[in-house]
Amino acid sequence: MATLHTKNAARAMMAPAVIVLLIWMIVPLAMTLYFSTLNYTLYNPFSTPFVGFENYSYFLNDPTFLAALANTLVLVLGVLAITVGGGILIALLLDQDFYGVNIVRLLVIAPFFVMPTVAALVWKNMMMNPVYGVIGQFLQALGIAPIDWMTDVPLLSIVIIVAWQWLPFATLILLTALQSLSMDQKEAAEMDGAGALSIFWYITLPHMSRAITVVILIQTIFLLSIYAEILVTTQGGPGSQSTNITYLVAQQATSYGDIGAASAGGIVAVILANIVAIFLVRLIGKNLDA
């Protein structure tokens, strides 16, 4: 069926997509790599001497970098723990038979469609504000002194905001996986006298393991690049307590005009993301054969 003619036609049809993506991937990345070896600032853009790895040693030795790396890890792992753990529990709940299941599903999925800047500002002001925020007032009603979330626990605040945005994603995907679990298997286990907990542990959880892996990997890709939520809430502060790598790099370029250091930081971010990406591409590639 694949004649030479159709093969050429197929190639021509694929060409535009492949070419634009190739350009998009190679040109800016090559430029970033090149800039990362220059002493290049926006204040003096006409003198850009070659400095080798100086930007890298500057960026990697900057105490802010280590803080940002640690914050990035806390942010990614914290959000993953909440969304995967919470996602499994809520998916199990939504898989049950109850009144208004479709409406509850809409309520749960909603935060995913809220744009990052709105999510962050609503949480910062209306939920977490120490005086007027709903959480503060709720705690006060219980007799607990409210805290100033954005100053006292800036990173935790951002973890909560981002987890709220991604919990629906994890729930939706895990629920989809859960619904493809055949009833027979569970019923057979029940007849053999298995309890709810062991059914979950030995049947449901293994069945969901692939979906869980997919959730972890895809979220990690997005979570490494959290930016807007930090920009509109803490701006990375106080100090660098809530600065992640993405925010640090963008800040180097747009606030300090240090193109060289920002580029070196960008390359570091690319390497970090690639470590995750290799696993994800393999996993999805395996699925492609099936």
């Binding site: 159709t6 036609a9 197929a10 049809m13 535009p16 492949v18 993506l21 998009w24 991937m25 040109v27 800016p28 990345l29 430029m31 709940l93 049950q96 109850f98 009144y99 208004g100 299941v101 509850v104 599903r105 309520l107 749960v108 999925i109 909603a110 469609f113 809220v114 744009m115 990052p116 800047t117 709105v118 500002l121 609503v122 949480w123 209306m126 005086v131 007027y132 709903v134 939706l172 995907i173 989809t176 009833m183 692939r210 690049s225 930016y227 920009l231 509109v232 993405t246 963008a250 920002a262 960008g266 971010a269 690319v270 970090l272 993301a273 990406a277 591409v281 999805i284 590639g285 699925n287």
Partner: protein
């Protein structure tokens, strides 16, 4: 799910599920309610839930004082523009990969996916400088191109998984009946491909509408979409909760509605077909 559960348990599950649902939805609900309060009621202690004088004042102020429509139009231009551009390039590519696969098709698909994993900060600097050089900073055209490029892999993947499900036998049958390529496409395949394309459009519009790295870094006012408009409320002077709420509702309502209709497709698109 067809199992019979005792009524008592069903009611228990109902209560628990609604409680969880409402807790998760609460920030949106609260924003919705606050958007109809006066500024004074919005910060009243203790908070008022529904027993306030509902007013549309905030929505009017948002439009007259900060020109909401301008940003809204930009969001529409950007999401529709990048989606249209994406379809033009991705439909033929996904089509070719689904219907005339070669040994390398899988590699091409995975490579496309890997471009999506390139962190934006890795290419921000050159793109930023090129935008300055070519006068694209704060222009809709420039952002449409960037949004098109970052979402192209998702569009190709999603279309591919849909096209893959169109049975090849239908194509062969049509060929046997003497259909030429044009007829093959317009009369046989297109009708079967439309639902998949529609879902892809929906997801891509959602992703572009909410994209907040490039839109914040590459715009100031002219081409700024709603993400940037809302970000301007983060300044201390912007602490007007009722107005912030009204602006937020206006920014998220369209996409919330689109999103609710496309939740199934979302799973597929965002997992690159790995979970259906």
């Amino acid at each position: 799910m067809a199992r019979n559960v005792s009524p008592g348990r069903k009611i228990g599950t109902t209560v628990l599920a609604w409680f969880v649902g409402l807790v998760i939805f609460f920030p949106i609900l609260w924003t919705f309610l606050t958007s109809f309060k006066t500024e004074l009621q919005a910060i009243s202690i203790p908070p008022v839930f529904v027993g306030f004088d509902w007013t549309l004042e905030n929505y009017q102020t948002i439009q007259t004082q900060s020109n909401y429509l301008h940003f809204m139009m930009n969001s529409i231009y950007l999401s529709l523009g990048s989606t249209a551009l994406g379809l033009i390039v991705a439909v033929p590519a996904a089509w070719a990969m689904a219907f005339s696969p070669t040994k390398r098709t899988k590699d091409v698909l995975l490579w496309m996916l890997s471009t999506k994993m390139l962190p934006a900060v890795g290419v921000l600097i050159p793109v930023y400088l090129m935008f300055i050089r070519f006068g694209l900073l704060d222009s809709r055209l420039g952002l449409i191109v960037v949004l098109f490029l970052i979402n192209l892999p998702i569009i190709v993947w999603m279309l591919y998984t849909y096209f893959k499900e169109i049975p090849g036998e239908i194509l062969e049958a049509a060929r046997m009946d003497g259909a030429n390529l044009r007829k093959e496409i317009t009369q046989v395949l297109a009708p079967m491909a439309v639902p998949g394309i529609a879902s892809t459009v929906l997801l891509n519009v959602i992703l572009s509408w909410n994209e907040a790295f490039w839109t914040l870094n590459l715009t100031t006012s002219n081409a700024a979409p709603l993400t940037a408009f809302i970000a301007s409320f983060s300044s201390p002077q912007g602490n007007f909760y009722a107005k912030l709420s009204a602006a937020s509702m206006l920014a998220i309502a369209p996409i919330l509605i689109v999103g609710w209709f496309s939740q199934k497709q979302l799973v597929r698109g965002l997992t690159f077909g790995a979970v259906k």
